[in-house]
């Protein structure tokens, strides 16, 4: 499902050039839950963004569901993400002025999702947020926010989930719940690429790749 080959990426700043990715390759298959570990600045988030089509590498290729991501135009990449990809972030990135239900349904802005509202309610129920449907993100606990973000990521029944430190701000119970959801998603035929610096979180994955200074360790 995800195939990254020999990815290289550098950032230039006044302090010099940072090599974020240096010849990184990666493959995540159907039903597989892969964790990428590494210290801060090791390039793991850059790898995730590159694999998700949000950051073009300097060289190398990314194939997502058989499509060479960076050979297609930006709108086509957006369409692919809208239809087949879900995101979960450490900061939740919920839209503050939308209710929980509206946040979960936000992907509808990008593509037509069949029975979106009933699917959203189903997810609310699944993640114990039914009574929070009309609340706004700032009225939720951090655990609830992440569950809402996870619900949003799952609305379009994606084939791939990208999760960037999804448990970074959560208590152990909520962290376990989120990891369990990711695992369950993979078991049901999805592919998960989890980026984390927590060993416990990485341990939940089927396979772990460790990055150090932009290179596989």
């Amino acid at each position: 499902m995800i195939e990254a080959v020999n990815l290289n990426m550098s950032f230039h700043s006044h302090t010099g050039t940072v090599h974020a990715l240096q010849g990184v390759s990666l493959q995540v298959n159907v039903g597989e839950f892969v964790a990428v570990r590494g210290a801060s600045g090791s390039g793991k988030t850059t790898l995730l963004l590159a694999c998700a089509g949000l950051r073009r590498p300097d060289s190398g290729h990314v194939r997502l569901l058989g499509t060479d991501l960076y050979s297609i135009a930006s709108p086509a990449r957006a369409k692919l993400r809208a239809e087949s990809v879900g995101f979960v972030f450490q900061q939740f990135h919920l839209i503050p002025y939308l209710s929980v239900l509206q946040n979960i349904m936000a992907p509808c802005l990008g593509s037509k999702i069949q029975h979106a509202e009933s699917r959203a309610k189903e997810l609310l129920d699944q993640f114990g947020l039914s009574r929070r449907a009309g609340h706004y993100p700032q009225q939720l606990s951090t655990g609830e926010r992440q569950r809402a973000a996870l619900s949003r990521a799952l609305l379009n029944s994606p084939k791939i989930l990208f999760a960037d430190e999804p448990t970074g701000n959560l208590d152990p119970d909520n962290a376990a719940l989120v990891l369990q959801a990711l695992r369950s998603f993979a078991r049901n035929g999805g592919a998960v690429l989890l980026v984390t610096h927590h060993e416990d979180s990485a341990r939940t994955a089927d396979r772990t790749i460790t990055l150090k200074e932009g290179k596989p360790a």
Binding site: L54, R55, P75, A78, R81, A82, Q102, P107, L109, G110
Partner: protein, 425 residues
């Protein structure tokens, strides 16, 4: 979940950053609406007051017309029939005729069935030097009224001067202390003063009236007259040419002219009064036009400045909004919303801002007009002052302009790298 829901929710959340944009647009729209409606209110007020003034003038003129009609009905016009060859310039400047016509002409006219003339008075008039006194006077020989043959007897309008007598003009009598009963000598012949006329303020005051036959003898013009006075013609002023034509058809070698009469003077005064009233109205109208021009020039000068200022203000606020929503742009981009859709969300927000602003400005503009226009424009009809095309134009143009103002900030926002944005804490 639609883009409109998202935009409306965002507006609700950031109402205080949304409203200044609406107010700026309302200001621009209000200025435009008020400019047009104030001009229209001014025009309507002008038209209304003008109509009232014209009606007042017409009413006064109608009253004068009625009075004039009554006067002319009682007085009639005075017509003087002169030989056709008589130059009017000489006649008016010298008060004497240089051409003569047979006295028989008056009989011909009296025999005709002319209905518009009441009295016929033949006369012989010359300006002479009164040799005994050495001063210039006007000598008029009159014989009294010639009756119309087809009409019954009437009281004569002027009695003839008896032979051997003279009637003196007021100035002639007073300057020489002549009185009724005195005798005077004119061109070697003695006359008894039969009457002294009251002052008339014209050439009549230096005129001597004597019997026509005696005048013909004194002036050496036997059987000749200089004209026929046709008095109290029954005609309206406007029909005078018809009377002249009728007289001239009976006496083809003559011309008929109208004397300056009191009725004519009044008619002239009436015309003058109308002219003055019309001038006053024209001056008032010119004043109103000048005020209108001032309103128009202010509107023409200020409206574009206000609109441009508001446009820039909306653009600045859109820029600020776009910066504030960077993370949102990153999230939407990450979950697969295309740049075009995100761009449309920004423009939709601006268009709603424009729509609300234009509605608010439109209402404010009308309210402003109601406040500043006079009682000639009642409050409940103020909306009618706005040109029909303005409301749809504003409702179409303002959201478009607001969307244009947001175009660059929106374009910059959607171009931002979502990866960078999502990496920001």
């Amino acid at each position: 979940m639609t883009a409109l829901t998202l935009v409306l929710q965002e507006i609700r959340q950031r109402l205080f950053s949304f409203l200044p944009g609406v107010l700026a647009i309302a200001l621009a729209t209000g200025v435009v609406t008020a400019s047009f409606s104030l001009l229209e209110a001014h025009d309507r007020e002008t038209a209304l007051v003008l109509q009232n003034k014209q009606q007042e003038v017409q009413k006064e003129m109608d009253a004068m017309e009625d009075e004039y009609r009554k006067i002319t009905k009682k007085m009639g016009f005075n017509i003087l029939i002169l030989p056709k060859a008589q130059t009017l310039a000489d006649f008016y400047s010298d008060h004497q005729a240089t051409h003569f016509m047979p006295e028989e002409s008056v009989k011909k006219l009296a025999a005709a069935t002319i209905t518009t003339i009441e009295h016929l008075l033949p006369l012989l008039q010359q300006k002479i030097t009164w040799p005994e006194l050495g001063r210039t006077v006007i000598l008029v020989g009159v014989r009294g009224e010639v009756p119309f043959m087809h009409r019954g007897e009437k009281n004569p309008i002027l009695y003839p001067v008896p032979p051997g007598t003279v009637v003196l003009g007021h100035e002639l009598a007073t300057s020489r202390s002549f009185a009724v009963g005195n005798e005077i000598t004119l061109m070697g012949r003695r006359f008894k003063i039969h009457a002294v006329n009251p002052p008339r303020g014209g050439k009549d005051d230096i005129t001597l009236w004597i019997n026509l036959s005696e005048a013909q003898e004194l002036l050496g013009k036997p059987g000749l007259i200089t004209g026929i006075m046709a008095l109290q013609c029954k005609c309206a002023f406007a029909d005078l040419p018809k009377v002249q034509a009728e007289v001239e058809s009976i006496l083809p070698d003559t011309q008929a002219i109208e004397f300056a009469t009191q009725a004519q003077a009044r008619a002239e005064a009436r015309q003058q009064a109308r002219k003055t009233a019309e001038q006053v109205i024209a001056q008032w109208k010119a004043g109103r036009d000048s005020v209108r021009d001032q309103i128009k020039s202010y509107a023409t000068a200020w409206a574009p400045i206000v609109m441009a200022g508001c446009f820039l203000g909306v653009a600045a606020m859109a820029h600020s909004n776009a910066r504030e929503r960077r993370q949102e742009v990153g999230i939407l981009s990450a979950i697969g919303i295309s740049q075009g859709n995100i761009f449309a969300i920004f423009l939709l927000r601006a268009a709603i801002q424009g729509l609300l602003g234009s509605l608010g400005g439109f209402i404010a503009g009308i309210a402003l007009t109601s406040a500043f226009s006079s009682a000639a424009v009642p409050l409940n009809t103020s909306w009618m002052l706005v040109p029909a095309w303005l409301a749809p134009s504003l409702l179409l143009a303002t959201p478009t302009a607001a969307a244009l103002a947001a175009l660059v900030p929106a374009a910059v926002a959607v171009q931002a790298d979502p990866a960078n944005i999502l990496g920001e804490e």
